[in-house]
Symmetry: C2
Subunit: 235 residues, 2 copies
């Protein structure tokens, strides 16, 4: 018997081989159900999976088309710094530089979407790999959303790791860029002359409320992000 995974793979093969070209219309569910000798529901499952994977576009009455691909996708999983370093056998160290509850500067107000009179927790910390500075973490936590953060000293655990464990989030925004370091970056990261930094800026939200905004600064020579993407889920 044909399972919906079998059908998924057969359809995937037809797309990859070009038998069904990009942008082309493919047979209706009912026809494929006949071809494969199963119910329409089973074909539907397979096609929905392909649609979720971004390979098909489906519209009632209009039918199902192979997506015309216009972008390349890159999916990163950014681990907790400690895990990343320990996983490759490195020696991890964490250092808290500063922690204070303050009203937020205008630039951060915009990121967190909080008022000028509200305060937030500002935490500056440094992550080391084998004794060398690996990441500077400059973080703001919205206390209105995460009051629990007031109770945490962040002496022993980094804000990044603490937040990931304690606070769920619904969406996030990332910005990646290359830049010349600020004097402060340089001071903390002990950069070589002329060495650029790789910056990740991230804001996370829980429903409509901002949770945190962070600027993660890495020395350029010792950092890169790598991803391996499947064009379609294997199932």
């Amino acid at each position: 018997m044909r399972s919906y995974k079998d059908i998924h793979n057969i359809l995937l093969e037809r797309i990859k081989s070009g038998e069904w070209p990009q942008g082309g219309l493919i047979p209706a569910e009912a026809d494929l159900a006949l071809e494969f000798g199963c119910t329409r529901v089973t074909v539907n499952r397979a096609m929905q999976a392909l649609a979720d994977g971004g390979l098909l576009e489906r519209r009632r009455k209009a039918g199902t088309r192979v997506i015309q691909r216009l972008t390349r996708n890159a999916h990163f999983q950014i681990p907790i710094v400690r895990h990343e370093i320990e996983k490759r056998g490195g020696n991890y160290k964490y250092l808290l530089i500063g922690r204070e509850e303050v009203t937020v500067p205008q630039k951060v107000q915009a990121e967190l979407a909080i008022g000028p009179d509200e305060s937030a927790l500002h935490i500056l910390s440094l992550h080391f790999a084998d004794g060398k500075p690996y990441q500077l973490e400059d973080r703001w936590i919205a206390l209105g959303t995460v009051p629990l953060a007031r109770e945490e000293s962040f002496d022993a655990i980094s804000p990044n790791e603490w937040l990931l464990q304690q606070v769920p989030y619904t969406n996030a925004e990332h910005v990646f860029r290359a830049a010349q370091p600020t004097p402060e970056d340089d001071d903390h990261l002990k950069l070589a002359p002329g060495e650029p930094v790789f910056i990740i800026e991230r804001t996370t939200w829980l429903s409509d409320k901002a949770v945190t905004h962070v600027r993660l600064v890495h020395p350029g020579h010792s950092f890169q992000l790598v991803t391996r993407d499947q064009n379609a889920a294997t199932l």
Copy 2:
């Protein structure tokens, strides 16, 4: 009546609110079906969607748990350079610098996984936004996989755009990093003194055969990658 999307959202809410904590076991399908007054199949659909979205982990007999989140996810859609520039109203220009069929240097052999005697198409080109260099594209195309590329001059269309239209791929690998420019980068991109570059390296594959390897170099001051990620599909 409760649809599986309704159920999906209810379950999602219980996860977000912390009613079902990270790592915790949640009720079995049959129990939830009873609670919501629908079939087990409908609950199954909802839970599978959450599992696909990476929010639940399911094992037979062991039951379903809320995922203990250990990474942040960032999903990028990297558009065709021309589209990117035109979309924000910029003036796009493409310039082919060089195109030759050669045996590949050892470094690229490793990336493409092809033999030392096989040849590939090496194409160097430059993309401009409003008259200023925006991206240097240094590309190798495996002619064994894409013989059609021999017929294309790449005078008028960039290899990036041509490949995306012509050649399907099954998986890709990306590396993002910040670096000091090479003299050649500097020469083509007309960089300011000390300005870093943002480099994207990408290799794509069609099943087991490498399609292409490319090094995309951007001036640091005018480039950043931005993403907005939903923690879970909205459905």
